[in-house]
């Protein structure tokens, strides 16, 4: 395992989990990401990433209540864990540092 380092897509999924709060389950995450990025995100990819994040301990999950839709199958809801939060904060701060280093002058020349 590569520790708490996050890939780009992993970070996106993790952020979506936080943003969706109580409603963070695979299909919803997938929809949200599709809306946000404008391309269609495959369920298989999201599912695999969620599974990996859970293995890394960045999210935890539990099954919800059974409903009549989905053929009676329960949803699996995801929640951010403390290491997950740390990883997000770490990723953000790393980016912020890099942003801060860019002088405004250089930025506007491009």
């Amino acid at each position: 395992m590569k520790g708490t380092n996050l890939g780009e897509f992993e970070e996106l999924v993790l952020l979506t989990v936080v943003a969706l709060m109580e409603e963070a389950y695979s299909v919803a995450i997938c929809d949200e990401l599709s809306n946000l990025t404008g391309r269609s995100i495959k369920l298989g990819v999201v599912h695999a990433v969620l599974n990996r994040l859970e293995e890394k301990g960045l999210v935890k999950s539990e099954l919800g209540e059974a409903t009549k839709t989905r053929g009676g199958k329960r949803k699996r809801f995801y929640q951010l864990t403390i290491p997950g939060k740390a990883a997000l904060v770490h990723a953000k701060s790393m980016r912020d540092q890099l942003w801060d280093r860019i002088p405004l002058l250089v930025w506007e020349k491009v």
């Binding site: 369920l43 599912h47 695999a48 599974n51 989905r70 199958k73 949803k75």
Partner: protein, 882 residues
């Protein structure tokens, strides 16, 4: 609301449940369901289902798949032991049914075993070469005079040379050329067959050398490498290395002794002679290195480690294109053939005729199909009997289910039982295999040369796998059937379970079984009659009591003189070849139009040949001149087809006499010849060839000779011995080679007779198996209907009424089979097989029905005997026992 009626494909869902870890499965399926519902709304149910299936497959990933648990295996093993125990008890309890099943499966499986052994043997050919995967042989594709092209296994020496010079990406090339001469060491003379070969042969193939240097042995002219056996035959126990051998007038030196060529090798030889010798001997012969001289040479390539066939092929195409520019009326293409596809692969022409070991894959598929039919027939028996007798085992299954057995466990139980029975049959069938093996090998001389059928460890493994497969096929239906029984029904009341629900299935199986059996037996009958007709076919001349003696290179005069003194020999003639048995000789004939040349089949015969064989001359007369060289021969006798083809003298035989034609073949180009006689058409080729233009030319002392001796004798054996002793006076080295014309014809069609024997044997097996199955069913039905029979009897039914009642069903099924099988066989023969034989006799009704009658007769005996037993029983006893 309507949308809610659509459900995702059930089996896809089951599939996910099967492979997915249980903790992941629920929400995963839920997610897919949600998507499915959404997709039904947007893109319709059909595509939604499709996407669902694709997704189900896409989620098959390393993280979703559940690992097999060790505990499961352990529990399975305990259960399997229990299944084996119950299966064993069940086998012992129903001895009749068990023995029907075991014997039937054993008989049918022995056919499978033979086929497996046969195929394994064929596939073990040439595997001993270390570089086998990279070895290829050159195939020549010859197209001449815009005729259909034909593929030859042989090629020209030039091809080999050109490949050596020009082609890149190969490690080595070797040319071999047929060699056959008499070796002489002191007084010891031995005919030796082998090859002219190059040193590179040892680099490409793995033929280990015992004595001598592998790299140098075949380098110098007049060197010879012997195999161990040949060396022993020539020199006894002395070392052969360095010794001299005489071939003809030339002396060769033994430069090496190698191990014998393994049995499973497509090239076989007794000795190798350096090709450089052949080059020296043929220095003056311009034909030797010609591009079109492709009769006797074979070229093998060893490709480099990482070249592909396509790269070599394109280089070969370039070579062929260049060489073909110089050719007038023939084109030759070159092609690569992998070493492992030589024995089991495409049919190639070969000048050596039937010496080559070869089996087209199509043949194996046909044999495999036939064996499969027989095996399936035995499996059907098992299925039928198990399901028919299901009632007896309902309670057992019911209790198993009640104490917690799942469907899959019941399935496993019945499969285990079937596999157990089929493994028991394997032991029996192995003994049958051992008995049948020598029969199969002796079926044809080709067989003896092709396969050994020796038992190897890989063969045993294949046998066991095969037997387990047969068990699974046989037990599949019963397993499904029993696993579906509901525990409540089974325990509540046996008779309420719908046993007869599966009666259609059982009937269908019986019909299929008998249809195939009837097809088999009818095919045998028709094939046999047609084969006899072919042998008795009027070829247009007389073949009775004619002994053909092959002179094997000797001059015929001395033997002719000796033979004419034997009183039993009434007439003698000489000819180049024996016709009507598949041999052919020929050349191109032209009449007045110099652009119109036609392939004409020929035979060179002397002036006695026509009378000895009773050829019918329509016009003209026999050969008058006695030319001593082929070039001097100027007379020709043609058949009616020649006149028709060239329209000589408006097809008038009398006027055609004296007309002049031009004839060209390997012995001479553009010879002018005069028609001196016209004979009635006869069958020069085999019966499956149409009659084509044929010409007889005078035999000359330059030709190889076959002596045709008409024999009239009361004691054939003594006469033959007399003739053979005469032969020994003329030629002490070569064994006497003679055959009666009629035997030669029989040999020529030996493939038909082997085929009929095989199909006949299979049909015998099919009948036995189907009859055993039928017997089992009859016994079962009469047993279950014993009470009914008794009541009917009490009410006044007669024995014949009862027999009719009980056999009606079976007879109906047999009639359906006959209605399918007979027309199918008839039309198969009429439209597929017999179209290849333009002169065949039509299929007779008698042959069609002889099979049906046999089957009906056997069925009748079995049904009759059982129903008689039931009908004769005392109703009081049976009804009392309630």
């Amino acid at each position: 609301m309507k949308e809610q009626q659509h459900h995702p494909p059930f089996w896809a869902q089951r599939f996910i449940e099967w492979y997915c870890k249980p903790e992941l499965a629920e929400d995963l399926i839920g997610d897919l369901n949600e998507y499915f519902e959404r997709n039904v709304q947007t893109i319709g149910p059909f595509r939604a289902k499709l996407i669902y299936i694709i997704d189900a497959l896409k989620f098959l990933r390393s993280y979703t798949i559940q690992r097999p648990k060790f505990a499961n295996l352990f529990i399975n093993w305990i259960m399997i032991r229990s299944y084996i125990k119950t299966a064993g008890r069940n086998v012992m309890r129903n001895k009749l049914f068990s023995s029907i099943n075991i014997v039937g499966l054993a008989i049918s499986m022995s056919v499978g075993l033979l086929l497996i052994a046969f195929v394994l043997d064929l596939h073990s050919y040439d595997r001993f070469h270390k570089n086998g995967e990279r070895i290829y042989r050159i195939t020549n594709i010859l197209t001449s005079n815009n005729e259909q092209s034909s593929k030859f296994a042989s090629t020209s020496i030039k091809t080999g040379r050109l490949i050596r010079q020009k082609v890149t990406g190969i490690e080595d090339v070797t040319i071999v050329r047929d060699f056959s001469q008499d070796a002489k060491v002191g007084d010891n003379i031995l005919p030796v067959k082998g090859y002219w070969a190059e040193p590179s042969l040892f680099r490409i193939f793995t033929f280990p050398m015992l004595e001598g240097n592998q790299d140098k042995a075949l380098k110098d002219p007049y060197s010879i490498v012997l195999t161990e056996t040949t060396a022993r035959k020539l020199f006894g126990n002395e070392s052969a290395l360095g010794k001299a051998i005489q071939f003809d007038t030339l002396t060769y030196q033994v430069t090496g002794v190698m191990k014998d060529v393994p049995f499973f090798s497509h090239i076989n030889f007794e000795a190798l002679v350096s090709l450089s010798t052949a080059e020296q001997l043929n220095k003056s012969d311009r034909n030797f290195e010609k591009w079109t001289n492709m009769g006797l040479n074979y070229v093998y390539l060893l490709l480099s480690q990482n070249t592909n066939m396509a790269a070599i092929q394109s280089q070969l195409n370039v070579i062929a294109k260049e060489e073909n520019l110089a050719q007038e009326n023939s084109r030759i293409q070159l092609e690569l053939l992998p070493l492992y596809e030589i024995v089991v692969g495409e049919n190639l022409r070969d000048m050596r005729g039937s010496v080559q070991v070869h089996m087209p894959p199509v043949m194996l598929w046909i044999l495999g199909g036939l064996a499969l039919v027989v095996i399936l027939s035995a499996c059907f028996n098992y299925t039928n009997l198990s399901i028919a007798r299901a009632m007896r085992r309902f309670k057992e299954v019911g209790i198993r289910k009640a104490i917690g057995a799942g469907k899959s466990q019941i399935r496993q139980q019945f499969l285990t039982e079937a596999i157990l029975i089929s493994l028991a049959s394997l032991i029996l069938s192995f003994f049958i295999f051992l008995v049948l093996r020598p029969q199969l090998i002796d079926l044809a001389p080709e067989m003896q040369r092709t396969v050994k059928l020796e038992i190897t460890s890989s063969m045993i493994v294949t046998f066991v796998i095969f037997s387990v497969t047969v068990g699974v096929i046989a037990g599949f239906m019963p397993a499904i059937f029993f696993s579906k029984i509901s525990a409540i029904n089974a325990l509540r009341n046996v008779s309420s379970v719908k046993v007869y629900k599966h009666i259609t299935l059982r009937r269908a199986l019986v019909v299929i079984q008998y249809t195939f059996t009837l097809i088999f037996i009818t095919t045998t009958a028709i094939g046999y009659v047609q084969y006899k007709n072919i042998l008795a076919f009027d070829l247009g001349f007389n073949t009775e009591n004619i002994l053909n003696i092959n002179m094997q290179g000797n001059k015929p005069d001395a033997l002719l003189k000796e033979l004419s003194e034997i009183p039993e020999v009434t007439a003698l003639s000489r000819s180049l070849i024996i016709t009507s048995v598949g041999n052919a000789w020929g050349g191109y004939m032209k009449y007045k139009d110099s652009h119109d040349s036609v392939l004409v089949l020929t035979n060179n015969v002397d002036e006695n040949y026509l009378t000895l064989h009773d050829y019918k001359l329509i016009a003209g007369g026999n050969f008058m001149a006695h030319p001593t060289t082929t070039a001097a021969a100027s007379e020709v006798i043609v058949n009616q087809q020649v006149l028709k083809r060239f329209n000589i003298a408006n097809n008038n035989s009398e006027e055609a006499i004296g007309e002049e034609i031009t004839f060209s073949n390997a012995q001479g180009h553009g010879r002018k010849m005069t028609i001196v006689g016209v004979m009635k058409d006869f069958h020069y080729g085999k019966v499956n060839n149409l009659i084509e233009p044929v010409a007889f030319m005078p035999w000359t002392p330059e030709d190889r000779t076959i002596i045709n001796a008409k024999i009239k004798s009361t004691d054939m054996l003594a006469t033959m011995a007399k003739i053979e002793s005469t032969w020994k006076k003329i030629d002490r080295i070569h064994p006497f080679q003679a055959e009666f014309y009629e035997e030669a014809i029989e040999d020529a069609y030996s493939e038909f007779s082997s085929m009929i024997k095989i199909i006949g044997f299979l049909s015998f097996l099919a009948i036995s198996i189907a009859s055993m199955g039928l017997f089992g069913m009859v016994v079962f039905t009469t047993e279950t209907r014993l009470k009914e029979i008794s009541i009917r009897k009490v009410m006044g039914a007669s024995s014949s009424n009862l027999i009719y009642l009980l056999s009606r069903d079976f007879l109906l099924l047999l009639s359906i089979s006959a209605l399918i099988a007979l027309p199918v066989t008839y039309f198969f023969f009429k439209n597929v097989i017999l179209t290849n034989f333009p002169y065949h006799t039509p299929v007779q009704i008698a042959e069609l029905f002889v099979g049906l009658l046999t089957v009906l007769f056997i069925a009748f005996i079995m049904i009759g005997s059982q129903t008689m037993k039931a009908a004769r029983s005392n109703p009081a006893k049976i009804l009392k026992s309630e």
